[in-house]
């Protein structure tokens, strides 16, 4: 039996829908006078961040606190990790402190998996982004946002077309999204320069293209990925000749915005490079869901924490789902 959320590939169709439905109910808590539920009272959630990510950490922290869990933030910077402590010793420390869940962000792909399966800790492990591997809660909040706008907030995303544009090679967001959106029935097209598509992408459940303009008119949502500026020069890997060229071929500007169908959404996991992968017009246009994605992130993370910690056994991630009957 699994009790972790490490990858969207672990999420079966029913599990994914359960998370989204639960998030939809929990989102309504934000509208109430008291934005707090007693559900995880007495449980401890540790945010273990080996890599800086203020927005993801704050989002998990807000989610855990709205469910009344105690939150410990553990950042590798300035901790004994920077003095050379291993992942194992950190894990043993957390176990001794009685962590019921560890939300882990790590620069190495597979670190959350190691933490979950090593036997070092008994708590649930939630992957908050590992290396170039996965970022499952980001994909879940993207799916939640897509479902809200394109499917009336219920059911799956069958028949919807989502275009993911940019640095797929280094993007855990793209990876997680491809698998989750596929599970939910959507068609995904990855658009990137050939140098920024990973080896083996042919095996992923999606299409690929080098030509953004050809794809845009048939897309229900376009998801722009952040370009890391340090990767642009030859010293940084030389994945493309210049920022200007990248922006011209793969950036979402006013002309491309106009080429999208009327109802299409503009998404970005943040933080944005305005003027590089996305123009200010596109980022601030009414069809942009960028700010909304942040709010949805809290609801989705509440749902994940509730489903993993809220009962004697987790409701997601198990191999034989016994159904959600109350």
């Amino acid at each position: 039996m699994r009790r972790h959320l490490l990858s969207t590939q672990d999420l079966a169709y029913d599990d994914a829908l359960l998370v989204l439905d639960t998030a939809a109910e929990l989102a309504r808590v934000a509208d109430r006078p008291v934005r707090k539920l007693p559900t995880l009272r007495g449980r401890t959630v540790v945010n273990l961040f080996f890599e800086d990510s203020t927005r993801t950490r704050i989002s998990f922290e807000a989610a855990a606190k709205r469910l009344s869990a105690d939150v410990i933030n553990f950042s590798a910077k300035g901790s004994s990790v920077s003095k050379g402590e291993s992942l194992k010793d950190t894990a043993l420390t957390l176990e001794a402190m009685g962590a019921d869940a560890v939300v882990v962000r790590h620069q190495a792909s597979g670190a959350p998996h190691r933490l979950a399966h090593s036997g070092w800790i008994r708590g649930a492990v939630v992957n908050a982004g590992d290396g170039t591997h996965e970022h499952p809660t980001q994909a879940l909040l993207d799916a939640y946002t897509l479902r809200h706008h394109l499917a009336g907030g219920r059911g799956d995303l069958a028949g919807r077309r989502v275009t993911v544009v940019g640095d797929v090679l280094h993007s855990r967001v793209a990876r997680s999204n491809v698998h989750l959106l596929h599970t939910l029935g959507a068609e995904v097209v990855l658009v990137a320069p050939p140098t920024l598509l990973p080896l083996g992408v042919e095996g992923w459940p999606c299409e690929t293209s080098y030509d953004l303009d050809a794809v845009l008119p048939k897309t229900d949502a376009v998801m722009m990925l952040r370009v890391q500026r340090e990767r642009m020069s030859t010293a940084g890997g030389g994945y493309f000749p210049s920022a200007r060229e990248y922006s011209r071929r793969y950036g979402l500007d006013a002309a491309r915005l106009a080429a999208l169908p009327e109802h299409a959404l503009v998404m970005h996991p943040g933080p944005m490079n305005r003027g590089l992968e996305i123009s200010a017009e596109a980022a601030d246009s009414p069809r942009s869901t960028i700010v909304e994605q942040v709010a949805n992130g809290v609801s989705v993370r509440m749902a994940v924490l509730y489903l993993l910690l809220g009962g004697s056994e987790p409701a997601i991630g198990t191999d034989d789902t016994s159904g959600g009957a109350a």
């Binding site: 006078p33 009962g311 987790p314």
Partner: protein, 193 residues
């Protein structure tokens, strides 16, 4: 519901309320609610999922027939406020639907199918406090089967049904089960709400 003991076939269920009796009980409760609150002004009915919700809707319809003005009805999920969350696997959430206008300053009638230990009602009171501050809260149940574990009693009861802890009470409603009926069965202990 809990499974019956391993070898023997489950004992037969015996009906304790037939469709017309359920209907009469709801009509009576509707009259009692109107009587006690001197009409339906400022009333909000909130059903506890799952079977309290259709019951609250039916009560609202009857109150509208009696008093001539619509009465808002909604639902209040208590899952996240239960005190036995950690004893069972995490479960899917039900819907909470507070009618427009909220509950502040109004009289909320909580509606559930069976009143048993009282723990569901306790959780509902907590959940309600997070939604707003009602002027007063009343409780209506179709069946009171006794065995309270908390100092809670219902204001309106469709039928008082003295049961043993070994018995199981099952409420079936047209909206969810295709028929109206309340059944009782000798069997496994500790079942139900």
């Amino acid at each position: 519901m809990t499974s019956a003991s391993a070898a023997a076939p489950p004992p037969p269920e015996r009906p304790v309320l037939e469709p017309d009796e359920i209907s009469r009980a709801l009509t009576r409760i509707a009259h009692q609610v109107a009587e006690r609150n001197k009409g339906t002004d400022g009333l909000v009915l909130l059903g506890v999922p799952s079977r309290g919700v259709p019951l609250a809707r039916r009560l609202a319809e009857r109150l509208e027939q009696v008093e001539g003005t619509p009465v808002p009805a909604g639902s209040l999920d208590i899952t996240l406020h239960r005190d036995d969350l950690r004893l069972r696997p995490a479960r899917a959430l039900e819907r909470t639907e507070i009618p427009p206008g909220g509950v502040d300053g109004r009289t909320v009638v909580l509606v559930d199918d069976v009143l048993f230990s009282g723990r569901t009602v306790r959780a509902a009171l907590d959940a309600l406090a997070d939604v707003g501050r009602p002027r007063a809260v009343q409780l209506a149940v179709l069946v009171d089967r006794g065995h309270r574990e908390l100092p809670i009693r219902a204001d309106y009861v469709g039928k008082n049904l003295p049961t043993s802890l070994r018995e199981e009470v099952r409420v079936l409603l047209e909206e969810l089960d295709g028929e109206d009926r309340v059944l009782i069965r000798q069997g496994a202990a500790g079942a139900g709400a």
